[in-house]
């Protein structure tokens, strides 16, 4: 080897060694213990740099928490639940100690053993018993063991455009209460012409199945029911057929839903924000999104209870704790989660902070998520909401008043697989004029039973 080649090789080897050392230094050691007996807690849920307000508030919350709990060092990580990288991070040992999930995620995560069983640590955590029990259920296994904390939730209702209601001669303060009334209102709104459609549905990326699940609940139905140790499909009923017949009539007989049906929920929101859509099924958190991203206004939007009110879908979010966390880390994690999300003492400050930043106050969503059971804390939150409301709360009043009486159901087991199957039913009705509704449901029932391993 020439001297130059030797030098080059040596330089390459040195560079490789430095890179390897750098990588090793950058990788997580997986240990929670820090210097001075501090517990170091890696958490995700940090908003991106582009969301300046939320990032500022998030970092300030951490600072305030650390000042109150000097024995806990919070290390925030950007991002929430990303299904495409989640498993890779688990495999690489890079999953944070405390990680964000949607209500659809815990069942699979618990089954695979990626989250810690925190049941035995919960007794000493204040206020957790004040969270609605059906929200806790989303984080429990079949034996009732708990693996996470719900921090916010939603239930689905009927979001509508008040201006279009008025233009169509409908009363915006008396939105439809049954699916038949939805059909009539949809036809009246579509009569306005100019590309306006009366009612819209999400139909792709499993959102069609998600919406259909909500609508099945609304007519008092269920998507799945327990059978022995497992589950079986329960949606193939005359009520679901009637529900889908009504949808088919809106689409094909009244032509009040337009012709583009292969849409995601985002497409539907674009149409609603642009004032081209009368109604769609949605959660309250769609309101600020419509205003912030799609040019909607709070004055023009209303939220009604889900039609028929036989039940509705409960969704939401929360945090789980890494299965590899030590006892100290679990305790620190619960201290953080309780302080940040289940803390009646901080609610007023957070409401004032949101109002000062001109964020909506008065809706059943953060900073005042509807997580509390009936009682003192709930009453106090409702009073604060009313006191600081900066959006026209009367436009969502029917939804809020019906909320305690409309039974909420969490998502069915193996929700994403079931939603993918029910997507087909929704798409079949919306894209095929001659769709055999009973045939679609029969096939979907077989497919869902196969997923559940039911005969």
């Amino acid at each position: 080897m020439t001297r130059r080649a030797y030098r080059r090789t040596r330089r390459c080897l040195a560079t490789t060694a430095v890179l390897a050392l750098t990588l090793a230094a950058c990788s997580s050691d997986g240990e929670g213990g820090g210097e001075d007996g501090k517990v170091t807690l890696h958490i995700n849920g940090q908003p991106p740099n582009t969301d300046e307000r939320e990032l500022r508030v998030f970092l300030a919350e951490i600072e305030a928490f650390e000042a109150e709990h000097p024995d806990i060092d919070i290390v925030p990580h950007e991002g929430f639940m990303d299904p495409e990288t989640f498993n890779t991070r688990v495999a690489g040992g890079d999953l944070e100690d405390v990680f964000y999930v949607y209500f659809t995620d815990p069942a699979g995560i618990i089954e695979q053993g990626y989250a810690a069983d925190i049941t035995d640590y919960l007794a000493d955590v204040p206020h957790l018993d004040q969270i609605r029990p059906e929200l806790h259920e989303a984080f429990q296994d079949e034996e009732g063991r708990q693996y996470g904390i719900p921090t916010a939730n939603y239930s689905m209702g009927l979001l509508y455009n008040r201006d279009l209601f008025e233009q169509a001669g409908l009363d915006p303060n008396a939105p439809p209460t049954t699916w038949e009334e939805v059909r009539a209102a949809s036809a009246a709104i579509a009569e306005l012409g100019g590309g306006v459609t009366g009612y819209g549905e999400c139909a792709t990326e499993n959102t069609g199945g998600w919406h259909l699940t909500t609508e099945i609940y609304s007519v008092g139905g269920a998507v799945a029911e327990p059978e022995g140790d497992g589950w079986r499909a329960a949606f193939n009923t005359p009520e679901t057929v009637r529900l889908l017949e009504n949808l088919r009539a809106m689409r094909w007989e009244d032509n009040s839903m337009g012709s583009d049906q292969m849409r995601s929920c985002e497409d539907v929101m674009v149409q609603m924000g642009a004032g081209q859509l009368g109604m769609y099924v949605a959660a309250p958190d769609n309101l600020p999104t419509l205003v912030r991203q799609y040019d909607g206004t709070y004055e023009n939007l209303g939220l009604a209870p889900i039609p028929d009110q036989g039940g509705t879908l409960l969704g939401g979010e929360g945090y789980m704790i890494n299965a590899g966390a030590s006892e100290e880390e679990i305790e620190a994690a619960l201290t953080w989660l309780q302080w940040r999300f289940v803390n009646p003492d901080e609610i007023e400050r957070r409401i004032e902070e949101a109002a000062a930043d001109e964020l909506p106050v008065g809706l059943p969503m953060p900073p005042t998520p509807d997580i509390w059971v009936e009682g003192e804390i709930r009453d106090s939150v409702e009073a604060l909401k009313e006191q600081h409301a900066n959006v026209p709360v009367e436009h969502v009043r029917t939804f809020m008043e019906a909320a305690p009486t409309v039974e909420g159901h969490i998502e069915p087991p193996r929700a994403q697989e079931v939603y993918a199957i029910l997507d087909n039913v929704m798409q079949g009705v919306l894209t095929d004029e001659g769709a055999d509704i009973q045939g679609l449901l029969d096939r979907a029932e077989d497919d869902v039973n196969r997923v559940y391993g039911a005969s």
Binding site: M1, N87, Q112, N206, G208, M262, G324, D423, G428, R450
Partner: protein, 295 residues
């Protein structure tokens, strides 16, 4: 005779060469071979990243074979490939023939044809989603405007797949066109002159001169196209999500769902292994064609 100094120099050169070779081998091993081998292993396991994976024999294969989407996904991928071959071979070949005939502005047309290739695939898919909207979409506005019947495009299970093929062909035909064009330009002009003297018209010249002279390139591109289109993912993922009614679920989309929506990495790996085996047949054919050309 090699002197000791010469031997040392040659040894030094070999060490350097092997050093570079090792680097390439390491990169291939880590980023290509290891994932491929790992995929084979995972396809026989129930995958769990915390408790550790366990061997389950052929259970993953039995699971995917039992999935009603298995047959649909293969059928859709095969149909997509067939349509893409018909359109994706015919359109670029004819386009290349036309451009080859131009005396002027040939470079301009080459750039024009290649432009869509430079667009990110997701942008193309989103753009075509708008083109295909039944109301207000570009295509229905244009064809409806001249009195032709409009279509539901991606909104109907009978037209969704072919709609994706059209979008995909538009986006990808540039590369094939340029390769065909390059092949056409290597055909000696005397062959056409001789054919003309024999009284051959344009179609006979194409059939008897152009196609035989470019058959290696055609065959090579057809095989590469089969390998690429059997793995179609972006168009159905972005434009239809696999619908309506699973009419555009492809093998790759199903693999994606198994892995990232249902967290079933064993099933995803089993399906990937089957796809690998199918594509290996076409890859072997491709290698055979290229080797025969070299010899």
């Amino acid at each position: 005779m090699i002197t000791p100094t010469g031997r040392r120099r040659r040894l030094g050169e070999h060490v350097t060469a092997y050093g570079f070779l090792c680097a390439a081998l390491v990169v291939f091993a880590v980023f290509a071979w290891y994932p491929a081998i790992r995929n084979v292993v995972l396809s026989f396991q129930e995958v769990n990243f915390v408790r550790g994976s366990s061997w389950v024999g052929l259970e993953n294969f039995s699971y995917i074979l039992d999935d009603p989407l298995f047959a649909k996904a293969w059928r859709n991928s095969a149909l997509f490939t067939l349509y893409a071959l018909l359109l994706g071979f015919g359109v670029p070949f004819v386009t290349a023939l036309l451009i080859n005939e131009f005396r002027h502005a040939r470079a301009y047309f080459r750039v024009l044809v290649y432009l869509p290739v430079m667009l990110p695939p997701v942008v193309v898919a989103l753009m075509w989603r708008w083109f295909y909207q039944p109301e207000g979409g570009l295509i229905n506005e244009v064809i409806g405007g001249v009195g032709l019947p409009t279509s539901e495009w991606t909104n109907s299970s009978s037209t969704a797949l072919i709609s994706l093929v059209i979008a995909s062909t538009w986006a990808n035909m540039g590369t094939a066109t340029l390769i065909y064009l390059a092949a056409l330009q290597t055909i000696p002009g005397e062959l056409y002159e001789a054919a003309e003297l024999e009284g051959a018209g344009i179609l006979r010249r194409i059939w008897h001169v152009t196609i035989p002279q470019t058959r290696f390139v055609i065959l090579m591109l057809l095989l590469l196209q089969v390998i690429a289109t059997m793995q179609v993912f972006t168009e159905p993922f972005v434009m239809t999500g696999g619908g309506p009614e699973d009419s555009t679920v492809t093998v790759m989309l199903l693999i994606y769902r198994y892995a990232f929506v249902y967290n079933n990495f064993g099933a995803a790996s089993a399906m990937s292994l089957l796809l690998l085996l199918v594509l290996a047949v076409f890859s072997a054919a491709y290698l055979r064609v290229t080797r025969s050309q070299q010899t």
